[in-house]
């Protein structure tokens, strides 16, 4: 019991663990459903503002939307049941909106939402762990912002929107240890996906005269990738895997 508690504290260090009504399973379940529905509704609102929604392949678009809505709801409920942190559930739901719009239309929510969610994360860090909690969230999002900005300036392979995604990701991680675990999870997922993509392309082009498609030409939905990293590290921590 004590070891399990330690793992939960480790996982949600940035936003603390609530000892109030949030320990009740029924409340966590309801809260997860509310967060999942709200992130889906917000994602729909922002996707309506996207200028490049196409109706040419409507069945494909509908399937993507259904997949996004189901995944968003289930993961928010799962995270709410697993983490035991009210703050982490809120920032995860906010990041789910960004990941959902990026996954569906390669479109990010407006600056007002992205910056407001970062500021809200800093406030939640203060509510959960006082000054040091606020400091942790402020530092992690600033490190992500600076590293993303410098990589955009130096290499130019990323978009300016990726800087905002990096800020939101850092704020959602909430502490340096969580950021480290989130980045390692992202790296693992990236290697896995690239491996599968490379293997699939190799199979597809093995008997054809066409040149192999370049992996560099793939468009990477960075927000969805970061969201998967954010989802993986709490799951790994609950399973007892330390990165």
């Amino acid at each position: 019991m004590a070891d399990k508690d330690k793992e939960v504290v480790h996982m949600t260090e940035g936003f603390g663990v609530d000892a109030s009504v949030f320990t009740e399973v029924w409340f966590k379940l309801i809260w997860g459903i509310v967060m999942g529905v709200m992130s889906n509704v917000l994602a729909d609102v922002y996707l309506r503002q996207a200028p490049h929604i196409t109706t040419s392949n409507l069945s494909h678009a509908n399937n993507t939307r259904r997949l996004r809505q189901t995944t968003c709801l289930l993961t928010n409920v799962g995270v709410s049941l697993l983490t035991g942190s009210f703050g982490f559930c809120v920032v995860f739901a906010a990041f789910s909106v960004t990941a959902a719009t990026d996954f569906e239309q390669r479109w990010l929510p407006p600056n007002s939402f992205m910056f407001a969610s970062v500021i809200a994360s800093i406030g939640l860090g203060y509510l959960a762990s006082g000054f040091w909690g606020m400091r942790d969230v402020l530092v992690t999002q600033a490190i992500c912002f600076a590293l993303a900005t410098l990589s955009v300036a130096l290499f130019g392979h990323m978009d300016s929107g990726d800087i905002k995604v990096a800020m939101q990701f850092g704020a959602a991680c909430g502490s340096l240890i969580n950021l480290y675990m989130g980045l390692l999870s992202m790296l693992g997922i990236g290697v896995l996906v690239l491996g599968i993509a490379f293997f699939t392309m190799r199979l597809r082009t093995h008997h054809s005269d066409q040149p192999r498609a370049s992996l560099a030409s793939l468009h990477v939905p960075v927000a969805t990738w970061a969201w998967l990293g954010l989802l993986t590290f709490p799951a790994l921590t609950v399973l007892g895997v330390r990165l």
């Binding site: 600056n111 910056f115 000054f131 606020m134 400091r135 402020l138 530092v139 600033a142 490190i143 912002f145 600076a146 590293l147 900005t149 410098l150 300036a153 300016s160 800087i163 340096l176």
Partner: protein, 76 residues
């Protein structure tokens, strides 16, 4: 504008590093304030630079369209 934003971004990284190593609440608080101010300024400058580049893109596309229109006139 973008260069100033990048310099402030570097300062943000340094301030974040020092704030992360915080020893006591007062000195860490000071570095957190510097971090917040420098990051806000960097974001403001980078967004301003981004907006300026959009305007430049619009100006270039207008010039290209004018060039295409002139070429068509010459062809006629």
């Amino acid at each position: 504008v973008i260069q100033a934003g990048l310099v402030l971004t570097l300062f943000t990284l340094v301030a974040a590093g020092i704030a992360a190593m915080g020893v006591d609440e007062s000195s860490t608080g000071l570095w957190c304030v510097l971090l917040g101010v420098s990051q806000s300024l960097a974001i403001f400058l980078l967004l301003r630079g981004d907006t300026a580049s959009h305007e430049e893109c619009d100006a270039v596309s207008t010039r290209i369209q004018e060039g295409i229109a002139r070429q068509e006139q010459i062809k006629r």
